[in-house]
């Protein structure tokens, strides 16, 4: 039954084998070309207290005085031994920085991913089933508006309404200000998650709604659906019955393949909500020209997106038997 699976996995592994080194080289070249002096970024506002001799000492301590090619070679050497190097910005091993921050990001991205999938598919199906009527028009308008709204703007809007205006939900952070992690209740954690997850879901929900609606409409226009119509099936019943399978495959593929965008959206959401995840670390690493950390995060993101695409392909084949034929 699953004869297609080994071939798919093998093909992807080969692809990963050349993609990873290519991405590593590309990332390093980009970082080296960036017009940011890592020493200046590290010194930041303290310029007046750090003399030129100390700058040289800083550059030497971080190996920034060596040519780029040499730095890349030594980074590769470390990588082979399973060491991603030392982050300049955080003054800690890159592995440690990523390990400390990945869980918070995954909690956010994972929940937003699930929520936007359920919400997007349901709304898309509803819109498709009521094509041309008012629910369709309302849902489409909302989807188009959301698709055109930048994530951080949505975040600020949600905070203004639900945190500042109504006072229902906390404005920031993963836990209440002033409390230790051990004192925070589960309920508090959930309360603090609502707005960030909502913000991030909004980013993913709009394309899903529009695509699901479109694929359902394509199904409803097909001869098979017309036949069922003639036998008295209502559009709503068709949508959530046989239509669901048609639309869900497309939706799942689309959603898994756009996991990378969700990850990108978390960079902004994390900054607005002071969420202690990888997104914040990415911003710091980029503005500080922190090559080892950026490379580490870049490669981790690559693996994340790669896994998302692979899962999308597997899910699509599970949902749609026509794709399983090995070409």
């Amino acid at each position: 039954m699953r004869a297609w699976l080994p071939a798919l996995l093998a093909g992807r592994l080969v692809r990963l084998a050349w993609l990873l080194p290519l991405a590593a080289v590309g990332l390093f070249v980009l970082i080296s070309l960036a017009p940011i002096d890592p020493v200046q970024a590290y010194v930041g506002g303290r310029t007046s207290q750090i003399g030129p001799e100390q700058r040289d000492a800083i550059a030497a301590a971080w190996g920034l005085d060596r040519p780029a090619a040499e730095r890349f070679a030594s980074w590769l050497g470390q990588l082979v031994r399973g060491d991603l190097g030392q982050s300049i910005t955080f003054n800690a091993p890159v592995m440690q920085v990523i390990a400390a921050r990945l869980p918070a990001s995954m909690a956010l991205v994972g929940r937003a991913f699930a929520l936007s999938f359920v919400l997007g598919t349901l709304l898309g199906l509803t819109a498709g089933a009521t094509r041309g009527c008012w629910p369709d028009r309302v849902i489409r308008t909302v989807a188009v508006v959301l698709a055109a709204s930048p994530g951080f703007w949505v975040a600020i809007l949600l905070v203004a309404v639900f945190a500042v205006g109504l006072g229902w939900l906390p404005a920031c952070c993963a836990t209440p200000p002033g409390q230790l992690a051990s004192e925070v209740t589960l309920a508090d954690r959930w309360r603090h998650m609502v707005l960030p997850v909502a913000t991030l879901s909004v980013v993913g929900v709009a394309p899903l709604v529009l695509h699901t609606r479109q694929s359902l409409i394509a199904f409803l226009d097909s001869p098979a659906a017309r036949h069922l119509f003639a036998h008295g099936a209502t559009p709503v019943r068709l949508a959530f019955g046989p239509g669901l399978r048609h639309a869900a495959g497309v939706a799942l593929t689309l959603h898994l393949a756009s996991a990378g965008e969700l990850f990108g959206g978390s960079v902004l959401a994390e900054a607005v909500f002071a969420w202690p995840g990888l997104g914040q670390a990415t911003v710091r690493a980029a503005t500080g020209a922190d090559a080892p950390l950026l490379m580490g995060i870049g490669l981790a993101t690559l693996l994340f997106v790669f896994a998302g695409n692979l899962l999308a392909d597997i899910a699509a084949r599970l949902a749609d038997p026509r794709l399983r034929r090995v070409s």
Binding site: P35, Q40, Y42, V43, G45, R46, T47, S48, Q49, I50, G51, P52, E53, Q54, R55, A57, I58, A60, A61, W62, T89, F90, N91, A92, A100, R101, I156, V159, A160, A163, V164, G167, W168, P170, A171, C172, C173, A174, T175, P176, P177, G178, Q179, L180, A181, L186, A187, D188, W190, R191, V194, A271, V272, A274, W275, P276, G277, Q280, A281, G288
Partner: protein
Amino acid sequence: MLHPLSTAAVALSLMMPAQVEARPLVLAIGGEPDGGFDPIMGWGHYGNPLFQSTLLRYDAELNLVGDLATDWSLSEDRLVWRVTLRDDAMFSDGTPLTAEDVAFTFNAASEAGGLADLTILKEARALDDTTVELELTEPRITFVSRLATLGIVPAETYGDGYARQPVGSGPFRLIEWREGEQLVVEPNPHWHGGEIAFERVSFIFGSEEAGQALARTGAADLVAVPPSMADAAPSGMEVLHVDTVDNRGLAFPMLHATGETTAAGTPIGNDVTADRAIRVAINQALDRDALVALALNGHGRPAMGPADGLPWDNPEAAIPGNDPAAAMATLDEAGWTDSDGDGIREKDGKPAAFQVLYPAGDSTRQALALGASEQLREIGIDARPTGSSWDEIGALMHSEVVVLGWGAHDPSEIYYLHHGDYAGIDYYNTGHYSNPEVDARLEAAEAANGVEESLAEWQAAAWDGETGFGPKGDATWAWMVNLEHSYWVSDCLDVGPLQVHPHGHGFPITHDLPSWRWTCE
């Protein structure tokens, strides 16, 4: 996880506001040190090192007073600081702080390649438990700033994980640091400095918007806000404006353009600003009060020099400005006249025109550049505001005028900005200014017998009655404004007298955090 009971509890709690209980002090002022709390790598140079204490500290008037040190003196040859320590200082783990720890900290910091500049230190030695000697490679009085900024770490337990689990003899000890989100500290029971009025202090990190939202929901007690937001404090809070030496001014290229370039191949010199008359006329013409109103919404004060109001500042060197008539007289006298009637003066066929570069993303500097340009047009100088990236500014700052900003609690900044040795190095002396008499004054200040003695030399470097880097002398800069740093502070919080703040908004306000008090029940 999806137990029906817990689900119901979650659903219920979502509808109820958080429980009201005794609230700790919550600050949202940014300043999270990404690299952790290791003084040897540079933590604590702004504001308050929280977990560590320093040998000396600056009081609200920026006078040096003892913290760990009870007595300190500089040797005859000005090379050796001898510091006597108090004998009751303890680290937060209960072990006593000795001269060994101080010597270890200074020696380690001078070798670490971090953000504590101790390149001048030759060696630190502990003579006995409470006496330490710090030997320098050459006389340098500004080393005293290191005594006031370098937090002391325990020699015994300092190691790899220190930055994230600091142990020090400061007012607070770290309870929990959730990176990127929150730092929670409690008073250090072993601290030698007295009582602290808070059982717990939390620092919330994240964006400015997050801090403002917290203030509006009443969850934060002190929040750093940008000047544009300052006047819109939410109920229960008031606005606190803090004077600073966080200054902005026009840095002039001082040399004539001779085709000379920097090592990176960018041009040096500008024939218009190389003329002292132009630089002095600009200083005479600028209406700094108008610039404060225009660019800072009135939240600032006119800047006359690089360190207005600090002990090493020389007010005598300033030209008050807002005097276009005097500016025009200066230009006329120097031969800059408008011969072709286009409103711009010329001399020997060269128009009095130059660019004023500012980083395009900085609206304050943009407003300053535009405002200054407008004012200078009145006296016949064509200063063209040009928004650029820092990258471009780095390439052009030796040949065009740039809106730059400085301001530190350390006179070595004066040295870096005006000494000929720093011409063209980093952002220091961008104009390649070099005046042997000023250099000699600056060197004399660094070589002084003591901090008090050095002050007169720093002031003379700006203006000694005949020459100096200040506007009355060579006019290397036209300083324009000092920013104000704005905070929203809870009505119930008394933060006491405040220092004039350095460049950098946010964390410096914590300098006297241990003496803050609640004023409400």
